[in-house]
Amino acid sequence: MSIGLIAQSFVDGILMGGIYGLVAIGLTLIFGVMKIINFAQGSLMMLGMYVTYWMFTLFGVNPYLSIPISALALFIVGSLIQKGILSRMLNAPEHNQLLVTLGIMLFLENMALALWSPDFRNVQVPGMVDTLHLGQININTPKLIAFLSAAGLSILLFWFLKNTMVGKAIRATSLERQGAALVGISTSKINMIAFGLGAALAAVAGSLINPFFYTSPTVGDTFILKGFVVVVLGGLGNFLGALVGGLIIGVSESLGGALLPGSLKEMVPYIIFIAVLLLKPNGLFGGKIR
């Protein structure tokens, strides 16, 4: 086991962790505000990937430039889902909320299958250098971009929640829904915006993942379980927690892959997850939007 292998694994883990964090940010926002575990998040991400794919295939739009489009499209889809379905579920028991999002997931996944066939699709970013070499260490460029975007996005969101009216209203709603309503915040509107934002974040994640991962109707399944683990690990509703949680999972998985035989590395994130929960039942950084 050489130092080089460990270092390379560490770097790969950090990059992958950023991507897990990216997927988890939208999830954690939605949970923070609406207290809903959104199973459909992976499918929303998948829709974002298809937007990017079609923009590229039909109009030749660079995948990174299509991010605003996919974000906007999914913001609308997300708001509509919230308004039409989830707004009626706010006070429903947890298992019902979960099952509704599961139903939405089933619907979206199979809609994509029926509309766009199950084929695997990929985009090739024109003029993109795939790898940077830093001494012995290789850095995958699309993953690096995704990682930096994840970090940038969580800082941006942090700022947005602290310094804008809507952001403050979102935080107020997440802390105390009735109290927020009492001081004149339209919580139903805030919920819509929050879910829309969550969906848009999923789309951004999808667009950023697109250059290194094939798009298919079931692509969301690959990320969703890890997304949950990351979100809970960081504390439900906590962005920086989501990012740090993502990094922990990414690195531990990657180092596990280098050191453990077989596919045992798959087990590592779950063991860390349970261990952290037992020691800190609200996740690493507590469970409030911040």
Partner: protein, 426 residues
């Protein structure tokens, strides 16, 4: 409390009433179908079932939705094409030109669903079933067909045991895992014999379901006999978003040969990862690799896939018939015909040929005819399709393919080869 109990009971009554109605009407239709399991006696009572059949139904059990849907739909399309061809040529002649109807069934890649779909097909009165792609579905589905006495021609499903259970109604076209593994080992010995550079160490990287694991296990078991030393086998889930740990492990082990079994997405990521990490094994050989024999990988990843080999079931490159079929498929479905689709197409032809020879829509007679199969007008790189006592296509074999300049060529065996192997990779 009593009242609500009463109410729920009423509901149940209504529900079970509905169920009962459906069921009884269902069993009626089941009974009237010409050959449904236990009513052999009835059919013999009917006016002699001489060639007077309007249509013959066959089933196609594939994963049409879920993670394997891409392959499943290609395969179902190919079967449809074979059926349409027979119908266009006048149907089943020995049955007075009976039309063939394809009854598609979606297994969703789930064993349980596979079983219930076989039962549904049984009800619908199919005389034979084709399928299934996923081995996990093939095992219980063929078993259900065995119980119902429906001939089941497996096109693709790799696990050895499918034809090793003493079943009478199961037939398989594809070379099973052990033949794939043996073919790989004999090809590698052949390559080493011919080459001045002998490659001897290998890492097996494979997706971790039955498909990849069964092939890898057999290779590992017998590699020493071919002078190959397996340094490690690395299983990974096919849906993984991250192949970097596999790549890093390969890099640190530095094997001569990377042997890999997987699907399109993971296979592509592996090759990209090896390329990006500047890992240059002297040979990369896929075994039944879903990426290396896929047109999407072969053409789109031109820059990084030069000289990659794949031991795989495939379409005969030297057959004119095969080229016509490929072209037709592409025109019809706007997609290159995959090897999976070619096997489904062939399986359908084999089943239809058996129905023609049986001159009957009776499942047992069709099974009987299948055992006598000697089908040489096919598009596969092998001698005539014949089944042994276990139902396995005896001449099934994988060939050695190699990618040159965005095109896959057969490099061995000589009968089918279109180019010479390049080994080790320069």
């Amino acid at each position: 409390m009593k009242k609500l109990f009463f109410l729920t009971m009423v509901l149940m009554l209504i529900l079970s009433g509905c169920g009962g109605n459906n069921a009884s009407s269902g069993s009626n239709t089941g009974g009237s179908a010409s050959s449904s399991g236990n009513d052999a006696a009835k059919s013999s009572a009917e006016p002699s079932s001489a060639p007077k059949v309007a249509e013959v139904k066959i089933g196609g059990l594939y994963p049409l939705s879920g993670g394997l849907a891409s392959e499943g739909q290609d395969m179902a399309n190919a079967v449809q094409m074979a059926v349409d061809e027979v119908n266009a040529a006048g149907g089943i002649k020995s049955l007075g030109g009976a039309k063939v109807v394809l009854d598609k069934a979606d297994s969703e890649g789930k064993p349980q669903k596979g079983v219930s779909e076989v039962q549904r097909l049984d009800r619908d009165g199919v005389v034979g079933i084709l399928g299934t792609y996923a081995s996990g579905v093939a095992l219980p589905a063929t078993q259900e067909a065995e119980k119902a006495k429906i001939p089941f021609v497996v096109d693709i499903a790799v696990v050895n045991e499918i034809t090793e259970r003493g079943f009478k109604y199961t037939f398989r076209i594809q070379p099973p895992a052990k033949i794939m593994a043996n073919n790989f080992l004999s090809y590698i010995s052949m390559l080493n014999d011919k080459s001045s550079v002998k490659l001897s160490t290998a890492v097996l990287a494979h997706e971790d379901s039955v498909f990849g694991s069964s092939i890898a296990a057999l290779i590992k078991e017998n590699a020493a006999k071919s002078g190959i030393k397996t340094l490690e086998d690395i299983p990974y889930p096919a849906s993984t978003p991250d192949m970097s740990s596999v790549v890093n492990k390969i890099k640190s082990l530095n094997p001569d040969i990377v042997v890999t079994t997987g699907y399109l997405r993971d296979g592509t990521m592996l090759i990209k990862g090896l390329h990006d990490a500047n890992v240059k094994p002297k040979s990369i050989i896929g075994v039944a690799n879903g990426a290396f024999s896929n047109q999407q990988f072969i053409t789109q990843q031109k820059d990084i896939n030069q000289n990659i080999m794949d031991v795989n079931y495939t379409i005969n490159p030297k057959s004119d018939l095969a080229n016509q079929v490929k072209e037709k498929y592409k025109n019809q479905f706007q997609k290159d015909m995959s090897a999976n689709a070619a096997y489904s197409y062939t399986a359908a032809q084999v089943l239809l040929d058996a129905i023609e020879r049986a001159a009957s829509a009776d499942r047992d007679k069709i099974r009987e005819a299948l055992t006598q199969t000697d089908f040489s007008k096919h598009i596969l790189p092998q001698s005539p399709i014949k089944f042994d006592a276990t139902g396995q296509n005896v001449n099934a074999q994988a060939v050695l393919n190699q990618i040159f300049d965005g095109k896959s060529q057969v490099v061995f065996p000589d009968d089918y080869k279109t180019a010479n192997p390049v080994y080790p990779m320069p």
